[in-house]
């Protein structure tokens, strides 16, 4: 794929950058994508979990076109489960040579999340605080 690096995007960043639609407008944004330009090619990390069996496959308009059983899907974590496209609410993988859109709520997928920004002080204290930070969500800094 040519100039793949240029198109590396984080799903979250993509979603954030798009129109600030409220929950009620989410469905409309699905159909809007039908006439919108094709989503940018994406070559990021792979699908990490399928959370439906069978898994619905969507078309460009956001409608379910078919369902695929777990056994017929590329194994998670493999090259076949590589996400090649992304748009708000959906990620696309290649299935039988064709682009298949998957609903993000039905898979575990993370984009190229940025490392947490740190400075020297934060790193030092994050390490000192490791036990405490463990207690809830945080683990401090990644560097």
């Amino acid at each position: 794929m040519a100039r793949v690096g240029t198109y590396l995007l984080c799903i979250g960043a993509l979603a954030t950058g798009l129109a600030m639609a409220g929950p009620g407008e989410a469905k409309r944004s699905k159909s809007d994508t039908a006439s919108a330009p094709a989503a940018a090619p994406y070559a990021g990390p792979v699908i990490k979990a399928y959370k439906r069996d069978p898994l619905p496959i969507f078309d460009d308009a956001g409608d379910v076109v078919r369902e695929v059983t777990r056994g017929a899907l590329p194994p998670i974590g493999t090259e076949g489960a590589r996400v090649v496209r992304a748009k708000p609410g959906f990620v696309g993988i290649m299935l039988d040579g064709e682009l298949a859109w998957l609903r993000m709520s039905m898979v575990d997928y993370v984009g190229d999340v940025k490392a947490i920004k740190c400075n020297a002080t934060t790193i030092e204290y994050a390490k000192l605080e490791e036990e405490g930070l463990d207690q809830s969500l945080g683990l401090g800094c990644a560097k």
């Binding site: 799903i11 979250g12 979603a15 989410a26 993370v110 605080e129 405490g132 207690q135 945080g138 800094c141």
Partner: protein, 608 residues
């Protein structure tokens, strides 16, 4: 630094506290006190009303058929995730939820101590954090919590949680037992989608709904760490005592100068550790509680029709940090060893018998007595290793395992759910609000200033902190606190007192550590009346006299009231359920601790 920059920084510091820059009352000492920061431009105030009280009427429970039937999780897919059925919200025993709710409403675990667990946690954790308000962001997120509340069919929290923000780059959030949720600014900065922030909020809210603070395991972590905490405070107190004497004697020998320098180094390191103690002393969740909070977070999000699209990003970010931490374990150990070496070297220097005797007889610390210094120094030399070694340890499921388990949980519990698409609208609004930019600037400048302080660049720290409003009541308390520490360590106790006073009379989130440091400073400068006033104010504000017992002992010893100190020591030893308090009292009065071990009163040689 250019004036414009300073003004901008001051403005950033003030935004959450309205306008006006009335300086705090100055102490009446000779003062090269800090001039107040320039008055910031008026900022539009956002009023955040106090959430209303929600009574508990009876014991609410979900109606039959209102929640999906619980299904078994696939055993292989869930891995080490502790839950076996989903959704959790459909499996909770209503009576137990009610009982926990009532205990939370009454302040925590009955019978653990005279002070409820809620107040204990507040005084040992939140009261030490660098917290500040972001009203517009809080209003945005509070609306989310209100939707979660509607999706919760059991006993409600007594009020919608207040949301405070921490001036930290770390990716973290915490729930506090008084229905406060703390979110670090680093987490908001990292978030690139609504689902990440929503999941984090739901997770912390779930800890509160499930009453995890009332569970016994929540306080086990604090007990384990009591010794380390005690030693951290010994280092700090000991070093501060010597530093106080050094500034008074004025004609130190080379050896004494060396000791004073070591004292400063040790004090700085101990300040670093006391920042770390914020979290060490606080309750820790166990693995099961963490899994439950993850699971209930999904239940709340689905139940309130909110997006879950990219919640896995939270675990991805945590996993990155987790792996980096594992990879840097050697570095962490090296840091711990360096810290230990520095402390050992400092304490050895300070505990040198000749130096201590000389300082004690010629300086202002004679009332503390050489035996106290010797005893403390000896104790530290013997135990310092455990201070640094006690910091650290992985107790929870790795984030990637949590993500896997939660994927299996969602699959089992919500086979037909269709939550909305993540549009990024909420995080977009938060980040587009000028408040957010001001907060990130405040955080960055504060961290820089704090680093200057830890580097011993007191002049630089003072300038940076004044630019953030240090010396005024409107700036966040932690700004005044670090400014006070910096002035204190630069030897300007009048200026330090001015900063501490601004902090304790200010509108920011009160910081208990400020009261401790302030009182200790006054004790070391022999102004025991001022120390008594600070202690009294702290006791009144935090409603926790036991917490101040160790400092009270120091004040009584410094004012020559040995009988009073002994009486307070006795009261302190009777404090139950809060191990760090007697430990700190022993550190404050090692003679008494030693006398108990040696009831015949034989003078034991140095080193016992």
């Amino acid at each position: 630094m250019k004036t414009g920059t300073i003004l901008a920084m001051a403005g950033a510091a003030m935004f959450m506290f309205g306008t006006g820059a009335d300086a705090a009352p100055k102490k009446k000492r000779s003062a090269t006190a800090a001039p107040a920061a320039p008055a910031p431009a008026p900022q539009p105030a956002v009023f955040v009303p106090e959430p209303p009280f929600v009574p508990l009427n009876g014991c609410p429970a979900p109606g039959a058929g209102t929640l999906p039937a619980a299904q078994k999780l696939d055993k292989k897919a869930k891995g080490k995730f502790s839950l076996t059925k989903a959704p959790l919200i459909a499996t909770l025993p209503a009576a137990e939820v009610c009982a926990n709710n009532q205990r939370m409403r009454s302040g925590g675990v009955a019978g653990e101590a005279s002070l409820g667990l809620s107040a204990q946690v507040m005084n040992t954790r939140s009261a030490r954090l660098d917290l500040f308000a972001m009203p517009a962001t809080e209003l945005e997120l509070r609306a989310v919590l209100d939707r979660f509340a509607k999706a919760w069919p059991y006993a409600p929290l007594e009020r919608t949680p207040k949301i405070l923000f921490r001036a930290s780059d770390a990716y973290e959030a915490q729930a506090l037992p008084d229905n406060t949720i703390v979110v670090s600014l680093g987490l908001l900065e990292a978030a690139e989608s609504d689902s990440e922030v929503l999941f984090v909020l739901a997770h912390e809210y779930a800890h509160l709904l499930l009453g995890h603070f009332t569970k016994a395991e929540a306080i086990s972590g604090a007990k384990k760490s009591a010794t380390a905490i005690s030693q951290v405070y010994q280092v700090g107190s000991f070093a501060n005592s010597l530093r106080g004497s050094g500034s008074v004697s004025g004609a130190l020998s080379n050896a004494q100068s060396g000791a004073a320098r070591s004292g400063r180094d040790a004090a700085r390191l101990s300040e670093a550790l006391t920042f770390a103690v914020d979290d060490i002393v606080a309750p820790s969740w166990n693995r099961d509680q963490e899994d439950q909070a993850d699971a209930l977070a999904i239940d709340l999000l689905i139940g309130s029709n909110m997006t879950i699209d990219t919640y896995a990003n939270v675990f991805a970010r945590l996993q990155k940090a987790f792996e980096a931490e594992k990879a840097s374990r050697d570095k962490r150990e090296a840091l711990a060893n360096t810290l230990q070496d520095s402390l050992t070297s400092s304490v050895k220097s300070m505990a040198n018998a000749g130096t201590v005797t000389s300082l004690a007889t010629g300086g202002s610390i004679s009332a503390l007595g050489t035996n106290l210094l010797k005893g403390t120094g000896s104790s530290l030399l013997n135990n310092i290793g455990s201070v640094t070694k006690a910091v650290g340890g992985d107790t929870h499921l790795p984030p990637e395992e949590r993500r896997k388990g939660l994927a299996a949980y969602y699959q089992a519990g919500y086979p037909t759910a269709d939550p909305p698409i993540d549009t990024g609208a909420m995080i977009g609004r938060i980040k587009a609000n000028p408040e957010f930019n001001r907060a990130t600037m405040l955080k960055a400048n504060y961290i820089r200033a704090r680093q200057s302080y830890f580097d011993g660049n007191y002049g630089g720290a003072d300038q940076q902190l004044r630019a953030l409003g240090a010396g005024t009541r409107q700036t966040p308390t932690f700004v005044n606190y670090v400014a006070g520490l910096s002035a204190r360590d630069a030897g300007n106790t009048a200026m330090a007192a001015s900063y501490f006073d601004a902090g304790r009379s200010g509108s920011g989130v009160q910081n208990l550590q400020l009261y401790e440091s302030y009182a200790e400073m006054e004790i070391n400068t022999r102004d025991t009346a001022a120390a008594e006033a600070v202690i009294g104010d702290g006791v009144a504000k935090f409603k926790d006299p036991d917490h101040f017992k160790s400092i009270e002992i120091k004040r009584e010893l410094a004012s020559g009231d040995a009988a009073g100190a002994q009486a307070t020591y006795g009261q302190c030893m009777a404090v139950k359920g809060r191990d760090y308090i007697p430990e700190r009292c022993k550190a404050a009065m090692p003679q008494a601790a030693q006398a108990k071990k040696n009831p015949l009163g034989i003078d034991l040689p140095f080193g016992n």
